[in-house]
């Protein structure tokens, strides 16, 4: 990571060069919350990858003689279902572990979709200028006029409910942030001498865009992407909760909460655990993103 000036609104300040990964880690690790966030993220990603191995049971198999079994430490609970079962006798723990896989997948797909589209749009706006710039930025402004959850809901209403459509909807909703960020950083880079020099050396526009300018816009983008992960997980869970995201019996955490609505007053565990899972995951990515911002943004450095 080279020293990148992440000032967007203000004119570029001479940034100190965080010379190596080591220097980056040192300033990152100063933020204890960020380190905790990384650890939780690590566990989540491991669980997501190893869900088939760590989950004791199938996430969708229904054990007909164990409806709403409480967690094992409560009276009536049994060791076979450590966190209890839901209304059709599915093991909560296994569903939660597979849910981690879905959430990480959702975050990944949404961020990759929004990041690539937003980068292309933002770079195009910055490089083309004129009508293309105005058209792209107006389009982005219009997306921002809708409350993001409402826009996502409308998009899902058009595409039809489902996990994949929910991911597309959330990507579209988060697109404006990336586009604006890339355009603003690219514009401030375009004014610099090294870009002129590369242009004089005969580099084509595409090369200038992706090879010369983009790497120098990465720092704020990485921060935005890591925070975008948590937005994606939260919004997709909200859509699932409203019945517009993943459909039952998919063990998506938001969808699990929607399913628990009928009987959560009798069985606290079907409500508590999926919610805590969402909260912890979103929190971990937010802490990580905050830490990244502090470490990558020299202006905020102590």
């Amino acid at each position: 990571m080279s020293g990148v000036d992440t000032a967007i609104i203000e004119p570029p300040a001479p940034a100190p060069m965080p010379s190596s990964l080591r220097a980056f880690w040192r300033s990152f690790a100063e933020n204890r919350g960020a380190v905790v966030g990384v650890c939780v993220m690590g566990v989540l990603i491991l669980v997501a990858i190893l869900a088939d191995i760590v989950a004791p049971l199938s996430p969708i198999e229904q054990f007909r003689e164990h409806f709403l079994t409480p967690p094992m430490w409560q009276s009536g609970g049994i060791g076979e279902f450590p966190l209890g079962t839901d209304d059709v006798g599915r093991d909560m723990l296994s569903r939660l572990l597979y849910g981690a896989r879905l959430s990480i997948l959702i975050g990944l797909v949404v961020v990759v979709l929004a990041l690539t589209t937003g980068t292309v749009l933002g770079l195009t706006a910055a490089f083309a200028g004129g009508v293309a710039d105005i058209a792209i930025m107006r389009f982005v402004d219009i997306l921002l006029v809708f409350p993001s959850l409402l826009l996502a809901i409308v998009i899902v209403a058009i595409l039809g409910p489902g996990l994949f459509n929910a991911m597309i909807a959330v990507s579209i909703v988060t697109l404006p942030g990336y586009t604006r960020l890339v355009r603003a950083s690219a514009l401030s880079e375009l004014a610099k001498d090294y870009v002129t020099a590369t242009r004089c050396a005969g580099a084509g526009t595409l090369r200038l865009m992706f090879d010369t300018v983009l790497p120098n816009c990465l720092a704020p983008l990485i921060v935005q992407a890591s925070l975008g992960f948590s937005t994606a997980i939260l919004d997709a869970a909200a859509l699932g909760f409203l019945g517009l995201g993943a459909q039952p019996p998919t063990p998506e955490w938001g969808t699990m909460l929607a399913g628990a609505l009928q009987y959560y007053q009798r069985a606290w565990w079907v409500l508590t655990f999926p919610g805590i899972s969402i909260l912890l995951t979103v929190l971990a990515f937010n802490l990580f993103g905050d830490g990244l911002r502090d470490a990558l943004d020299p202006k905020l450095k102590r």
């Binding site: 006029v145 809901i153 058009i158 939260l234 409203l242 969402i278």
Partner: protein, 334 residues
């Protein structure tokens, strides 16, 4: 100043037209022909279908349909609900005060609690209290509020029985709905019980909807305060021998709140988004729940009109924030 306002107003015209275009497209993109949806499950014979399509202008080219639609909007005609056959505009204006009441209360709650927390964290920077408050605040900002609402119901309504589970008012009371704001209407009805009922129905949704703005405000106030506290004029004020409470509240906070207020105005959109979830959980009869129900009932004219109205509202509020900010800060009028 007038030129500044005029320019801002002209800037929103193309945005508004684009939004009407999107909402126009919405009803054509959703699965199902509007006439077939209206015909219901019983089906319809082809001749009658063609006749209806002609009647509703659906056989016209798309651009002409759009012009017609713009004309309808200009006359305030947003169509009728497929389910209730009431005008979308009337339904919206009936339900909207409930959403405003909830949102205003949530925002007030967020400011009243969030600003002092941010100030305390900034003044005690680096202390355990600061870390604790900021830890709570980042947790609040990460909160899935649809779950948070259910947990609150489970604790305060089901286990403790302190607050009602849903709605705006207990069935035992009736108040004349002249302002649409239950708290105000109950206040003027001179019925103590009604006021208490309205208040107890409002308290949990307010906390739930206010949680994320509260966290945002606390964090922003803290960072803004930290910046202001390192200014020269604060040192001067301290050097004059003013008490530190006076320096913090009179000198620092007033300046620190400017960016907080600006961001607050621009948060209205996310507040309305949160209202969708909060209203759904608490069966709060506002526009958020209305929109969600419209999707479940495939009542697309409601979804179309409601979305258009909310987007228009956000544009107008952003415009208001812009203009207010132009008044306060002449530098941005350029």
């Amino acid at each position: 100043m007038i030129r500044f306002i005029l320019r801002r107003v002209t800037l929103i015209v193309p945005t508004f037209i684009a939004i009407t275009f999107l909402s126009f497209l919405l009803i054509r993109l959703v699965p199902g022909d509007p006439i077939e949806v209206r015909a219901g499950e019983h089906g319809i014979d082809p001749a009658r279908l063609a006749e209806l399509r002609h009647e509703y202008g659906l056989d016209q080219p798309l651009w002409r349909q759009f012009v017609t639609y713009e004309g309808q909007i200009a006359r305030g005609d947003l169509g009728v609900s497929v389910v209730t056959h009431a005008s979308v505009w009337d339904e919206f204006t009936t339900l909207f005060p409930a959403t405003v009441e909830l949102s205003v209360c949530a925002l007030l709650f967020a400011v009243i609690v969030g600003v002092p927390l941010g100030v305390i964290a900034a003044v005690k920077r680096g202390s355990a209290l600061d870390y604790g408050l900021m830890g709570i605040s980042v947790t609040g900002a990460s909160m899935p509020i649809f779950w948070w609402g259910l947990i609150m119901i489970l604790i305060f309504s089901v286990a403790l029985g302190w607050t009602p589970v849903s709605g705006r008012m207990s069935d035992m009371f009736f108040v004349e709905p002249w302002s649409g704001f239950m708290l105000i209407d109950a206040w003027f009805s001179d019925d103590q019980g009604a006021v208490r009922s309205a208040f107890s129905h409002l308290i949990l949704p307010t906390i739930v909807l206010g949680t994320i703005p509260l966290a945002t405000i606390a964090r922003m106030t803290r960072s803004s305060m930290l910046e202001v506290l390192s200014e020269d004029y604060i040192r001067t004020a301290r050097a004059k021998g003013l008490t530190s409470g006076r320096v913090v509240v009179i000198h620092a906070l007033r300046n620190a709140l400017i960016p907080v207020v600006t961001v607050l105005g621009l948060q209205v959109g996310s507040l309305l988004g949160g209202a969708i979830l909060t209203e759904t959980i608490f069966a709060w009869p506002g526009v958020g729940r209305w929109l969600i129900e419209s999707i479940q009932r495939r009542d697309y004219p409601v979804l179309q009109g409601g979305t258009l109205l909310i987007a228009t509202l956000v544009i107008l509020i952003n415009l208001g924030v812009d203009v207010t900010y132009g008044f306060l800060n002449p530098r941005i009028r350029r």
